[in-house]
Symmetry: none
Subunit: 402 residues, 2 copies
Amino acid sequence: MSGFEFLRGLRTEATTKIVLMVLDGIGGLPQTPDGKTELETAATPNLDALAARSSLGLTDPIGPGITPGSGPGHLALFGYDPLQYVIGRGVLEALGIAFPLEDHDLAARGNFCTVDAAGNLLDRRAGRIPTTECARLCAMLRQITLPGVQVFVEPVQDYRFVLVLRGAGLSSDLSETDPQRLGVPPLPAHPLAPEAAPTADLINEFVAQAQVILAGQHPANMLMLRGFSRHPQIPSFAQAYGLRPAAIAVYPMYRGLARLVGMDLVEPLGKTPADEFATLAAGWQDHDFFYVHIKGTDSAGEDGDFARKVSVVEEVDRALPALLALNPDVLMIGGDHSTPAVLKAHSWHPVPFLLYSRTCRPDAAAGFGERACAQGSLGRFPACLAMTLALAHAGRLTKFGA
Amino acid sequence: MSGFEFLRGLRTEATTKIVLMVLDGIGGLPQTPDGKTELETAATPNLDALAARSSLGLTDPIGPGITPGSGPGHLALFGYDPLQYVIGRGVLEALGIAFPLEDHDLAARGNFCTVDAAGNLLDRRAGRIPTTECARLCAMLRQITLPGVQVFVEPVQDYRFVLVLRGAGLSSDLSETDPQRLGVPPLPAHPLAPEAAPTADLINEFVAQAQVILAGQHPANMLMLRGFSRHPQIPSFAQAYGLRPAAIAVYPMYRGLARLVGMDLVEPLGKTPADEFATLAAGWQDHDFFYVHIKGTDSAGEDGDFARKVSVVEEVDRALPALLALNPDVLMIGGDHSTPAVLKAHSWHPVPFLLYSRTCRPDAAAGFGERACAQGSLGRFPACLAMTLALAHAGRLTKFGA
């Protein structure tokens, strides 16, 4: 019995509203062993007052010691076991540019590269051509036609692009064409299962046509394909929870992840947290679940900018009263992973989590921070259990057993 | 997907060094309800200062309420699910005397016993003969030869010995020969699977020859065999983690457990914690993972000697600066189980755990003890996840998903 089936069996009707605010990469580290983290440093009177009335905890998106990418980190918060619902690299790349992937699409990451006259690799990244050049080459490749499938070629950044094939019977069980070293030609795609042979033929035909089209170009006179993956078969939020979810996110990757689980994308009224909360208020009647994504915390962490990460948290705090004024039945504030500024990268550290509702058992914490959350009554728990907590506090789950 | 396969997929190269110090049986209990545990009682300025800069938690070696033996307790800390990688009794007994078990060896625990003229059991432990007598009898039994296999008979303690058969196709699917009651003869070994029949024949032939050899001895004129088990098929540390591990342990059981997972055994320069840390320093360049075993905490606990367990902890604390001076990238201090002096035995209580690294999130604890660990941000977690944490903090794992 899957977790979703179990929850479906307990589901009961309610008109309550749930908000999940994801402060991307919110978990941090102090700059010195006796210092405070970014979240602990930020002056956050509104978050602190909320924390005092909330239950706190620390989430593990994947598991202790495992650093999550944005995809699995979000799927976990959405309640999907990230080891069961694996999103392939090609699909993630497509989500990242908000490509409208359909159910049976096959996606791959593409690299433009440079080969010599004999076809051997000279540069696996084609001198890191600019994105404008990448877009020009992608437009040229759109003249490629393949039997029985639609072909989409979309630029991503620099030398990277996405290839999507749309049609029946496509398989992702293919070997990659990047040999991962220079002086040899790109590899053909091999089927890794018998039923993948027709798809391998299509991919190799695509590459053959591309080679002719790119032959006169320099330095990007060839391409390689990796991360073949299919749109994951994933239950929607409506199927899993009986919720009508909306996503308010500025960045394409997060809008793509939200669409993956069947959320309605709401166009943000602007890029600031205040704008996103205003968007939430404007659409408050139309949905009963709201995912609000704040990107700035992660960007600052990735840049190693401790002070900016602090100031993004403070900006969220200043805007928070507008969200609280909507009086959500359940408000969860968490993160998809940690991005400590001192590490300039995603990390494996557990992530601060807050749940407020009228039915929560308040921890009476002095504030919202890593150490307060480590003391919280929610304990340290897998992020993919957060949605079950939310449904419970939203009065959407009945008793198990009599 | 097993844990080891998952970790292998995330592995990345690093030159960092990890130390796992096992304070055997470190978890304790207070002598009165309002008292302190052994670890909390000990004056440990160095451990306390380290704890302030570390992340703390409590480990469950097997699971809540389950008292671990030394074998599963250690396997868990080494990252091996102790319910998946089960070490049989015979193998454990062989490890305990540092018998150099090979991959396909079959091991059994032996008891010398006393039978009457009709062959019925009078004493299942042969009057608890001294170890010297046990050794003399084992030497006599070494004249036994069996077709196609090598036979090893090694004394353990008192009436207990180890039998090891070495050869191809041996099976451990055998019933035990100890009837567990008096007045009846020892049982023949029965095959519990068809392919075990030849091994059962070998064992019964061994017992028949032994009966003849022991016939004139008193009181140990017969033997019984239990816990038939094979060397477990277990991934090595190198395979599981890509680490070059060294073990610094004084007692044979722990050296045997370390060899089981492919650690290099380093001869300790002496028996004290200070000697073991000096051994660590001497071999610091040769490995990237170091298991250091401190036995005294467990011995004192088993003896019910609260004060001595406290003083062993204090001895470790005094020696600790020599270990810290090596500046390990990751230092974990934990235990394979609890051995509260008030219980004079291993127990099921969760075990204090400390992880220090430059990338840890310090809990700012006032000291290293059971209650401080219960407040720690690592929470209460299965001991077999500790190695994943270590690899993460050692920069040896990449991100999962993009």
